[in-house]
C-alpha cells in the first residue's frame, strides 16, 4: 500500500508539534513562512473574495428575473458584472487551487520540508492581499464598468469609473501569481525527496507544474498590457489610441495572449485534483499516467497558440482567424485524453461515492460539456453567431464553475482531514455536492439556450420571450448558493465537533498521507525515501478486504 518501503513510527521523544499548534498568535500567522499556513492564509482570503463576487452575481440574477431593468440601473449592472468578473477571475479562480491546495500539498507530495523560497511565498500572499485591497477600494469608491477585459478605448478614455485602481490591484496580484508559479517550478525541480523521479510524481504535481509555466510566461504580458492601458489613461494618449494611429485590436491581442492561457491556469489545477481523486476512490492505478502527465504540458503549451478565437469579430485578418480556429480545435485533444483516461480508470474499479468522488464525477461531466461547447465557439462561423451572447457565459461557467470550483470543492473535502485533522460530516458533504451539481446545471444550462436564441450578455434588460429561461437560471442560482454555503457551515462545525482524522482516512497512496494529520511543522519526521510510483492501488485487494470484513 505505502509508497514508502518502511514507515518509521515517529519516535515520541523528538515529536514536533503539528503546524497548527506551532503558534497561536496573529504574528505567528502573518509572518509565517510555513507553506501550510500560507495555504490557509490564502484559503481565508479567497473565500472572502469569493463571497463578495458571489453577492454581485446574486444581484445580477435577481435583476434578470424580469425583462425590465427594474432593480438596478444599467450603469450599476455594468459595475456588477465587472466586479463579479474581476474578483472571481483574479482573486478567486486563478489563486484558488494552486495557492491553497498547491501550496499546502506540493512540498508534502514530493517529500520536501517546504517550498524552495518560503519567504517569497509569503511575499506572494502580501502582494495578493495588497492587490485585493486596491480592488476593494476601487469597488467601494464607486466601481468599474469596463467589464473584466478592460477593452480600450473604453477603459483608457471614456469610462469614468475607477479603472486605474482596479488595474493596479490586478497588476499587484499578478505579480504575486508570478512569484507563486516561479516558486512551484523551482520546488518541483529542486526539492524532490530521494527516489522521487519525474514519473513517480503524482499527477497533481505535473498539472501544477504546467500551471506554473503559464503563470510565469503569461502573467507578465498582462502586466505590461495593463500598464500600457493605464499609461494611456493617465497620459491622455497611448499606443491603443486611434487618434494617433493606435489599434485597439492590439490591446485585445496582448490581453488574450495572457487571458486565454489564464483559463488553463484555472482549470489545470482542478484537473490536478481530479487525477488524485479518481484513482483513490476507484482503488485503481490511474490509467495512462504518462498520457495525463504530458497532456497537462500540452494543454499549457497549446493554450498559448489559440488566443485569437476571442477576437473573431474584432476585425483581425481572415487568415489569422482561420489559423486560430484550427489551433483552437487542437486544445481539445489533450483535454479529451485526460477525460478518457479518467473514465478508463473508473472501468472495473472498486468505486465508492464519498463526497470528493461525487465532486470529481461532477467535474468530468460538466467539464466535458464545457469543453465540447468550446468547440462550437472555436469554429469561426458558429462563433460569429454566438459571440457576446449567453452561450459564451454558459460555456465558460461550465469550465470555471463546473471545472474549477467543483475541483476545488472536491480537493477541499479530500484533504480537509489532512489540513485540519478533523473529518467533515460525510452525509452533509454528499448532500452539498448533489445540491451544487443540481443548482449549477439549473443555473447555467438554460443560458446555453438563451445564448443560442440570441440573448446578448452584459445587459440588465432583455426581450420578454427570454424570461422563462432567466427565471430557471435565477432559481438555479439560489440552489447553487445553498450548495456553497452548506460546506462553509459544516467545515467550520467540523473544526470543533468533527471526528478526529487518522493519518490516512481514505487509505490513499501519496506521501502526504504518510505523515500525521495535521502534519508536523516540517511535514515529515524523516525525509521519505520513494521507491514506487504514485498510484499503487489494487481493486482486487480491496474486494478481498471488503469480503473479509463482511463475511
Amino acid at each position: 500500500m505505502n509508497i514508502i518501503e518502511e514507515t518509521h513510527p515517529p519516535p515520541p521523544a523528538k515529536l514536533e508539534p503539528d503546524y497548527l499548534e506551532a503558534g497561536h498568535t496573529v504574528r505567528s500567522w502573518l509572518l509565517t513562512t510555513d507553506h501550510k499556513r500560507i495555504g490557509l492564509l490564502y484559503l481565508f482570503s479567497i473565500i472572502f473574495f469569493f463571497f463578495i463576487a458571489a453577492v454581485a452575481a446574486g444581484i445580477m440574477r435577481l435583476e434578470l428575473l424580469t425583462p425590465k431593468g427594474d432593480l438596478v440601473l444599467s450603469e450599476t449592472y455594468s459595475k456588477l458584472f465587472t466586479l463579479h468578473g474581476v474578483i472571481m477571475v483574479w482573486f478567486f479562480l486563478i489563486p484558488s487551487i494552486p495557492t491553497v491546495l498547491g501550496n499546502f500539498l506540493i512540498p508534502m507530495m514530493i517529500g520536501a520540508r517546504d517550498v524552495a523560497f518560503p519567504k517569497l511565498n509569503l511575499l506572494s500572499w502580501y502582494l495578493f492581499m495588497a492587490g485585493g485591497m486596491f480592488a476593494l477600494y476601487a469597488i467601494i469608491a464607486g466601481g468599474v464598468d469596463t467589464g473584466w477585459t478592460f477593452y480600450t478605448p473604453y477603459s483608457s478614455r471614456y469610462s469614468n469609473s475607477h479603472v486605474i485602481e482596479m488595474a493596479t490591484g490586478i497588476f499587484l496580484s499578478g505579480f504575486g501569481s508570478i512569484l507563486t508559479g516561479l516558486n512551484f517550478i523551482i520546488t518541483v525541480h529542486k526539492m524532490r525527496a530521494p527516489g522521487m523521479t519525474w514519473f513517480r510524481l503524482p499527477l497533481f504535481i505535473w498539472s501544477h507544474y504546467a500551471t506554473s509555466l503559464i503563470l510565469v510566461l503569461a502573467t507578465p504580458v498582462l502586466a505590461i498590457t495593463l500598464l500600457l492601458m493605464a499609461l494611456e489613461r493617465i497620459w491622455g494618449i497611448g499606443i491603443f489610441d486611434p487618434r494617433i494611429g493606435g489599434d485597439p485590436v492590439l490591446f485585445q491581442h496582448l490581453f488574450w495572449f495572457y487571458s486565454h492561457p489564464a483559463v488553463y491556469i484555472m482549470v489545470l489545477p482542478s484537473m490536478a485534483v481530479i487525477s488524485e481523486l479518481i484513482p483513490c476512490f476507484s482503488r485503481k492505478q490511474i490509467f495512462g499516467y504518462k498520457f495525463i502527465a504530458f497532456a497537462s504540458l500540452a494543454i499549457a503549451f497549446l493554450g498559448f497558440l489559440v488566443w485569437g478565437h476571442h477576437m473573431f469579430v474584432a476585425g483581425p485578418s481572415v487568415y489569422a482567424g482561420l489559423v486560430f480556429s484550427l489551433l483552437s480545435f487542437l486544445v481539445a485533444i489533450p483535454s479529451a485524453i485526460k477525460v478518457f483516461n479518467w473514465t478508463a480508470t473508473l472501468h472495473r474499479g472498486s468505486i465508492s461515492f464519498e463526497t470528493p468522488m461525487l465532486y470529481a464525477l461532477g467535474f468530468i461531466g460538466l467539464f466535458s460539456l464545457g469543453g465540447l461547447t468550446g468547440l462550437f465557439l472555436a469554429a469561426l462561423g458558429a462563433d460569429v453567431h454566438l459571440t457576446d451572447t449567453y452561450f459564451i457565459i454558459a460555456h465558460f461557467h461550465y469550465i470555471m464553475v463546473g471545472g474549477t470550483v467543483l475541483g476545488f470543492m472536491g480537493g477541499m473535502h479530500f484533504w480537509w482531514p489532512k489540513i485540519t485533522g478533523r473529518m467533515y460530516p460525510e452525509k452533509m458533504g454528499q448532500l452539498a455536492a448533489l445540491v451544487t451539481f443540481i443548482g449549477f446545471n439549473l443555473t447555467f444550462f438554460p443560458q446555453f439556450i438563451l445564448g443560442y436564441l440570441g440573448m446578448p450578455r452584459r445587459y440588465h434588460a432583455y426581450a420578454p420571450e427570454y424570461q422563462v429561461y432567466n427565471v430557471l437560471s435565477t432559481a438555479g442560482a439560489s440552489i447553487l448558493a445553498v450548495g456553497y454555503i452548506l460546506p462553509v457551515i459544516y467545515f467550520i462545525w467540523s473544526l470543533h465537533k468533527g471526528k478526529k482524522a487518522p493519518a490516512n482516512p481514505w487509505n490513499a497512496t501519496g506521501l502526504e498521507w504518510q505523515t500525521p494529520s495535521p502534519p508536523p511543522v516540517h511535514n515529515f519526521y524523516e525525509t521519505p525515501l520513494v521507491v514506487k510510483g504514485p498510484y499503487d492501488y489494487s481493486p482486487e485487494e480491496e474486494e478481498r478486504k471488503l469480503e473479509e470484513r463482511h463475511g
Partner: protein, 113 residues
C-alpha cells in the same frame, strides 16, 4: 560552490568582441543595404546577446535546465510575435464578396496609405 570560474581574460575578449560588433552594426547602419539593413542589425544584436548570455551569464557552463529556462522566455516571445504579426501581415488580403475587384483595390490602398 559549483559554478565554474572563467578567467578574466575571456571576459575581456568577449567585451572586445562586443565592441567590434557594436562598431560593425553602427557602421552598417550608415551604408544602404536595402531590405538587409534591419536584418544585419538584428543578426548582430542576436550575436551580442548570445555572447552575453553564454559567457557573461555563464549559461555555456551551466546545466541543460539553465539552457531551457534561458530559452523559454525568448521562445514564448517568438510565439506571441509570430501569431500577432500573422494577423497584421495578412489584413485586407481577402476580398469581401460584396465588393468588385477594382472597388476592393481602392479600399485596400486607402487603408494602407
Amino acid at each position: 560552490m559549483s559554478a565554474k570560474i572563467i578567467s578574466p581574460k575571456t571576459y575581456v575578449l568577449v567585451w572586445l568582441a562586443l565592441m567590434i560588433l557594436l562598431f560593425l552594426t553602427w557602421g552598417a547602419s550608415e551604408i544602404n543595404f536595402g531590405v538587409f539593413s534591419p536584418v544585419i542589425a538584428i543578426v548582430i544584436a542576436v550575436i551580442k546577446m548570445l555572447l552575453v548570455v553564454l559567457i557573461f551569464m555563464h549559461v555555456r557552463y551551466s546545466s541543460r535546465l539553465t539552457w531551457v529556462f534561458a530559452a523559454a522566455g525568448f521562445l514564448w516571445l517568438m510565439i506571441m510575435i509570430t501569431l500577432t504579426m500573422g494577423d497584421y501581415l495578412t489584413r485586407g488580403t481577402v476580398r469581401p464578396q460584396n465588393k468588385s475587384i477594382p472597388e476592393w483595390k481602392v479600399d485596400t490602398e486607402s487603408q494602407s496609405r
